[in-house]
């Protein structure tokens, strides 16, 4: 294995190569103080490099585990895991139906639509719905709402929270007709308290926030959904360097995927639409292009048909298009 496959900074890599260390085996027998002296770096940096190198090499020798690689799961185990995963309801029975029960956890779902169709409302609804306690079929978790456009209205969230609680008490009354302990302890304020709201104003803030979310989520283990509204806003206008945009977006998408998988939460991204010219006709397509469309697990497109809103699934690993 070569040096430049290690995740170390470019300057350290340059120093290693110019000093003659081009492969990991050459780093195997040297001590950190010698390395520090030769490379002219601090001792802690040298120890870091050696640690990364020995970690990569150590993984070569450990093969006694039953799985092929560490962290791999067999498909059979995953099938059973999936059956126990909960979904987040969107409060619209039809939408839930085509989604197979709601928004899946451990996946990144992208929802796009024309302006005014209700994406932000849907986002707020999901942020509220995730807090439905387990007894009522919800996840009982907190939510993170990342706002890039400034369209989060607290009053509206309050209304939705109130409606949700009313819904729950009705459901309660409907199903449990006895006087057992089924009082709704939640108040709208509690629901609002459990929504962590971040407002960002530029794309660098967006990237910084997603990097920070890793630490945030390790501290707040209850978060079960991240809603980003909208993920494309800062990337559409005035972005000169297209290659940079692709790199940044794909890096961001991978990090979100990583968060979704590690912390078992659902990530919902709201996106805008643009028109695409195909074969002399105009077709609505989600913004940010083809490369972005490969980075999410599921895609839902909302559109108007006459006076009604329709949704269809554009991409999904386990559901049919509907």
């Amino acid at each position: 294995m070569e040096i430049w496959r290690l995740p170390i900074s470019a300057s350290q890599r340059g120093k290693l190569i110019s000093a003659g260390y081009t492969s990991l085996s050459s780093l195997s027998s040297i001590s950190s103080s010698d390395l520090a002296r030769e490379l002219n770096v601090s001792e802690s940096e040298a120890m870091n490099i050696l640690k990364v190198a020995s970690h990569s090499r150590g993984s070569e020798t450990s093969n006694a585990s039953c799985s092929i690689v560490e962290g791999a799961q067999s498909a059979w185990d995953m099938l059973h895991d999936e059956e126990s995963l909960m979904h987040i309801t969107t409060s619209s029975a039809d939408l839930d139906n085509i989604l197979g029960g709601g928004i899946h956890c451990k996946e990144v779902t992208e929802i796009g639509g024309v302006p005014g169709i209700g994406k932000t409302q849907l986002g707020i609804q999901i942020a509220v719905n995730v807090q439905i306690p387990n007894d009522f079929g919800g996840l009982g978790g907190n939510s993170i709402y990342i706002d890039t456009e400034g369209s989060f209205m607290v009053e509206r969230a309050f209304q939705i929270a109130e409606a949700c609680i009313e819904d729950m008490s009705e459901y309660n009354r409907f199903l449990r007709k006895d006087f057992q302990e089924c009082k709704i302890k939640m108040q709208p304020q509690d629901i609002l308290e459990n929504i962590f709201y971040f407002r960002i104003c530029s794309y660098t803030e967006q990237i910084a926030l997603i990097n920070y979310l890793d630490k945030f989520l390790s501290e707040h283990k209850d978060v079960k959904v991240i809603v980003v509204d909208s993920v494309t806003f800062h990337f559409r206008q005035d972005f000169d360097d297209m290659a940079l945009r692709t790199r940044v977006l794909s890096g961001m998408a991978l990090k979100l995927m990583n968060l979704a998988k590690r912390f078992s939460l659902a990530v919902v991204l709201l996106n805008q639409v643009t028109t695409k010219h195909t074969e002399a006709s105009f077709q609505l397509a989600l913004a940010l292009g083809d490369s972005w469309s490969h980075t999410c697990t599921n895609r839902i497109v909302l559109y108007w048909n006459g006076n009604e809103r329709y949704a269809y699934i554009d991409k999904s690993p386990s559901l049919r298009s509907a």
């Binding site: 050459s26 040297i30 890096g251």
Partner: protein, 317 residues
């Protein structure tokens, strides 16, 4: 390939006289040795005082280098190897199997390219469920799109209806052969491939159920964050990933299936992502697209070692 200083413990011939001599010519490691003109070096060694030691040292380094290259194979040995080891795995999808002449080939890197939602993941899942009946499969997933339910569904369709318990047992046996691992950046993928390599080295000795299929879905999402910046590291990582996959495929008799996506090309047509440098790395490339209206998928060959290009087929999943 280590620095000469570090090799001293194993090969005491390479002591400080030899090393100083080499250092005077700017040679610090075995690799530098390869770049230098050996005749000149030998001539200088003759003129030096302790020429015997130096020549021994040089000979020792050359023998170290000799150990490192791959063994030579002649044509007959290659043919034997191909007949014995390099089978063809059917994907389970009739259209693709007909197009490819029975399926994907062991020892080769097959790439599936297509726009979003054109069925690439479905083809991979189908192939995985087909191969998993007899061999082990490793699925590297970057987008959390590995769906055990799909696999269970495909397997359920293929076996005859029998008791639920027998079906369950069958499902369990086959699905335990598929391992899925999520990787989210390219360095993690290198780690995983490395562990895989050492696992395969021990596996080659055993005769039991062996790993025969590696699926990477999708390699383009791993490479896009590093490709294209001012440094050339991204491209180096990409080519090195390609070579590592090909090496694993050939040496350990794996079939490797990777997924790439498309970007907009000239005139609005889509072309495969990752650019021209990646174009020559996979052995075969298939282009998938989907007809929304009729729910059928089209596949055409972009590149294949033994089939003519531009052949196309349709299939339904």
């Amino acid at each position: 390939m280590a620095r000469l200083a570090n090799l001293e413990t194993e090969y005491p011939v390479l002591d400080s006289t030899v090393r100083n001599f080499c250092a005077s010519h700017g040679i610090f490691s075995v690799e530098d040795f390869l770049i230098h003109d050996l005749y000149m070096l030998a001539a200088f060694a003759e003129q030096n005082d302790s020429s015997e030691r130096l020549k021994e040292g040089i000979a020792q380094v050359l023998s170290i280098i000799d150990d490192m290259h791959q063994p030579w194979l002649n044509g007959m040995e290659l043919l034997e190897d191909a007949k014995r080891n390099k089978h063809v795995f059917p994907t389970g999808i009739q259209g693709i199997d007909l197009l490819l002449g029975d399926g994907i080939r062991v020892g080769q890197l097959t790439e599936l390219v297509g726009p979003s939602s054109s069925g690439k993941t479905q083809v991979c899942l189908r192939t995985a469920s087909n191969v998993a009946r007899n061999h082990m499969v490793l699925y590297l997933d970057t987008g959390n799109s590995f769906s055990p339910q799909c696999i269970a569904y495909f397997l359920g369709k293929t076996i005859s209806p029998s008791s639920a318990q027998a079906k369950n047992q069958f499902l369990q046996k086959v699905m335990s052969n598929i391992s899925c691992h999520s990787v989210f950046d390219i360095f993690a993928m290198f780690d995983v491939l490395h562990q895989l390599e050492s696992y395969l080295r021990c596996q080659d000795g055993r005769g039991c159920c062996q790993m025969r299929l590696l699926i990477v879905d999708s390699i383009s999402s791993l490479i896009s964050p590093v490709l294209g910046s001012s440094s050339t590291l991204g491209r180096a990582l990409m080519t090195s990933a390609g070579y590592l996959l090909k090496k694993l495929a050939h040496q350990h008799n794996l079939a490797v299936l990777i997924i790439n996506h498309t970007v907009g090309g000239e005139g609005g047509s889509s072309k495969p992502a990752l650019g021209d440098s990646w174009k020559c790395i996979p052995h075969s490339r298939l282009f998938l697209s989907c007809d929304r209206g009729s729910n059928t998928y089209n596949v055409s060959i972009l590149r294949h070692p033994s089939m003519a290009s531009v052949k196309a087929a349709r299939f339904v999943i």
